[in-house]
C-alpha cells in the first residue's frame, strides 16, 4: 500500500526513519526502522500475517493497537509477537504465524 509521505493535515513525520532490510517468509523486503512490523508489511502489500492455527485460513491485522491478537507472527530470536506493536529492526527474520497440528483431534499438517 502507499505510504503517506506528507500528510495533508499532520505534515511529514517529525523524526525521520532510517530504511532497513528484513525478511518475511524468507523473502527480502525494506521497511522503516522503528515502525511496527505490520505497517512495514502493509506498505509492501503484504496483508496475510498468520494462518489460523486450526483451519489454516489467512489472517491479517485487525485492531492495530495490541488488543485483538490477530496479527501474531514469529520473529527469530523473539518468538511470537504482535506485528502491530513490535518495532521493525534491521535484519529481522520474520515469518507468518503458522497452522499447527492438533494433538487432540489428531489432525496433522498436510
Amino acid at each position: 500500500m502507499d505510504r503517506i509521505e506528507n500528510h495533508p493535515i499532520l505534515g511529514p513525520r517529525k523524526t525521520k526513519r532510517e530504511p532497513v532490510d528484513f525478511t518475511f517468509n524468507g523473502e527480502q523486503w525494506a521497511g522503516l526502522k522503528g515502525e511496527p512490523i505490520a505497517a512495514a508489511l502493509l506498505a509492501v502489500g503484504i496483508r496475510t500475517l498468520r494462518r489460523h492455527e486450526e483451519s489454516g485460513s489467512p489472517r491479517g491485522l485487525y485492531c492495530a493497537i495490541g488488543h485483538c491478537m490477530e496479527c501474531r507472527l514469529n520473529v527469530q530470536g523473539k518468538g511470537t509477537v504482535r506485528a502491530c506493536l513490535t518495532p521493525l529492526e534491521a535484519g529481522m527474520c520474520i515469518s507468518e504465524g503458522e497452522r499447527l497440528p492438533n494433538e487432540i483431534t489428531g489432525r496433522r499438517l498436510p
Binding site: 522503528g34 492495530a64 485483538c68
Partner: protein
C-alpha cells in the same frame, strides 16, 4: 528490574487521561511513572484530528505538549511495555510487565477503550480491520490501509474516521449498515441508525456534534424518516452515507476483493434482487467503543454494567477512586467520552490521589472539588458529546455506586 523505591503513582496508559494525570501529580511533588504498550506516548490522540471553526484540532500536538511537560517534570515514561498483572502486596502494588516488575503505592488505570466487533461472513479475511486500525495505520504509521475501502457501521466514530481517511487520501466507497446478525441487532436497521446519528448515542472521539449536525441537516433535506432517504445515500463531505444499504458479506480468496451489498427497507429487511458487489481492497468495521478494563478486574475492583457509559465499568466515585485501596481510574475506562474529558478526569484523579496521600494541605478538598467541576465544565462544553445525556448518566452512576467505604469490601447499591 524492580526499582528499590516504589513510585508514589504508577499510571497504566499514556493517553490523554494518563499523561494529564502524570503532569498534575508530578507537578504536586509525587514521583510518577507511566507505562503503555504502544511504542509511542499519546494514546489514540496520536491519530485524531478534526476541523474546528476553520482550523484543525490535531491530537498529536496535544500529546506532544503533554509529553514535554512530563519530561520537564521528570515523569518516568516507559512505552512498548505491556502490563500483565497487578497485585497488592502489603502497602504497595506490584505490576508485572513485559520488562520486569514495577512497584507503586498508588495505581491509576487509564487504559482507555477497545472496539466492539461486528462479525459478518468474510470478516476474518486479511484487509478487514477495525475502523480504529485504519486510523492508526494512516495517521500514526503513515501507511494507507488500502486504496479503496468500505466502512461498515453507522456511528459517529465511523463518520469521524472516514473523514480523516478521506482527507489522508484514502478513497472511501461509502459507509453502510451492518446486516442483521446475532450480534448486530437493532443497530442494523436504517431507522435505528438514523436515531443513533441524530441522538449521537454512545461512542466516538472528536467532532461528533458537528458531524451529527451535518448529518441531521443533510438528512433533514431528504426527510428525517429513513424511508425517504434515497437508496444511493446522502453525501457528507463527499463520503456516501448509505443508510438504506447493508453489507451482506465480505468476499475474497486470500484477502478482501469485494463486499456484497443489498438495499433494505426502513425496518432493515433486504429488498429482493438488490444485491450487488462493491469492489474494495479493505473494509473497516465500526462497532463502537467499550471501556478496556481487564486490569481493574485483576486488581479486584467490582464492576457495574452501564449502557450509557459503553459497557462494564469499574465501580468508581466522582473523584475517580475505586473501592480498592490505592486504585484509581480515569478516561475511557470510566465511560466513553472524548479526549478533552479524559484529560480533565486525569487531572482530577491526580488531585484526588494527592489528597488521599496527604500531599495537599487543608485546602485539598477545595482543589479536588475544583477539578471535579472542571470535568463537568469540559463535558458540558465538549464540541463532541458522545451522548447527550452523559452527565445525567454519570450523576446517576455516582449516586448509585459512588458512595462506598474503602475498608468495606461489599459494594452496596444505595437508594
Amino acid at each position: 528490574m524492580t526499582p528499590a523505591i516504589p513510585f508514589d503513582l504508577l499510571i497504566v496508559g499514556a493517553g490523554p487521561a494518563g499523561m494529564s494525570a502524570a503532569v498534575e501529580a508530578a507537578s504536586r511533588g509525587l514521583s510518577a511513572a507511566v507505562v503503555d504498550e504502544f511504542p509511542e506516548p499519546g494514546g489514540r490522540m496520536l491519530g485524531q484530528f478534526h476541523e474546528e471553526k476553520g482550523h484543525w484540532w490535531v491530537g498529536r500536538q496535544v500529546a506532544e505538549q503533554l509529553l514535554d511537560k512530563c519530561s520537564a517534570l521528570g515523569v518516568k515514561l516507559r512505552c512498548g511495555v505491556s502490563v500483565h498483572s497487578i497485585l497488592r502486596s502489603g502497602a504497595v502494588w506490584v505490576l508485572k510487565t513485559s520488562e520486569g516488575s514495577m512497584q507503586a503505592r498508588n495505581v491509576l488505570l487509564a487504559t482507555g477503550s477497545a472496539e466492539v466487533p461486528h462479525p459478518l461472513p468474510g470478516w476474518t479475511l486479511p484487509g478487514v480491520m477495525s475502523i480504529g486500525a485504519a486510523q492508526v495505520m494512516a495517521n500514526v504509521h503513515y501507511v494507507k490501509p488500502g486504496r479503496r475501502g468500505l466502512i461498515i457501521g453507522v456511528n459517529v466514530l465511523a463518520m469521524a474516521i472516514s473523514r480523516e481517511l478521506s482527507v489522508s487520501g484514502v478513497s472511501i466507497a461509502g459507509i453502510v449498515l451492518p446486516g442483521f446478525g446475532p450480534i448486530t441487532g437493532k443497530e442494523a436497521s436504517p431507522k435505528e441508525s438514523l436515531k443513533e446519528l441524530m441522538g449521537l448515542a454512545h461512542l466516538a472521539p472528536s467532532p461528533l456534534m458537528r458531524i451529527g449536525g451535518k448529518a441531521a441537516n443533510a438528512l433533514g433535506m431528504a426527510g428525517f424518516v429513513s424511508r425517504f432517504i434515497p437508496r444511493s445515500g446522502i453525501k457528507i463531505w463527499d463520503i456516501p452515507l448509505r443508510l438504506r444499504t447493508v453489507a451482506v458479506s465480505i468476499n475474497g480468496r486470500s484477502q478482501v476483493q469485494s463486499v456484497t451489498l443489498a438495499d433494505v427497507n426502513g425496518e432493515g429487511a433486504v429488498i429482493p434482487g438488490s444485491q450487488r458487489e462493491e469492489l474494495v481492497d479493505f473494509v473497516a468495521i465500526a462497532g463502537g467503543l467499550y471501556p478496556l478494563a481487564e486490569l481493574a478486574s485483576v486488581a479486584g475492583c467490582p464492576f457495574v454494567y452501564a449502557e450509557e457509559l459503553g459497557g462494564h465499568v469499574p465501580v468508581h466515585d466522582e473523584q475517580m477512586r475505586t473501592p480498592v485501596e490505592g486504585l484509581y481510574v480515569a478516561g475511557n475506562i470510566t465511560g466513553i467520552e472524548s479526549a478533552l474529558v479524559a484529560m480533565a478526569q486525569g487531572r482530577l484523579a491526580a488531585a484526588t490521589i494527592c489528597g488521599d496521600t496527604g500531599l495537599l494541605d487543608q485546602h485539598h478538598d477545595h482543589e479536588v472539588q475544583e477539578a471535579m467541576q472542571d470535568v463537568r465544565r469540559v463535558r458540558a462544553s465538549a464540541l463532541i458529546q458522545f451522548r447527550p445525556g452523559i452527565q445525567e448518566a454519570r450523576d446517576q452512576f455516582y449516586r448509585k455506586w459512588g458512595s462506598f467505604q474503602r475498608d468495606g469490601q461489599e459494594i452496596k447499591e444505595e437508594g
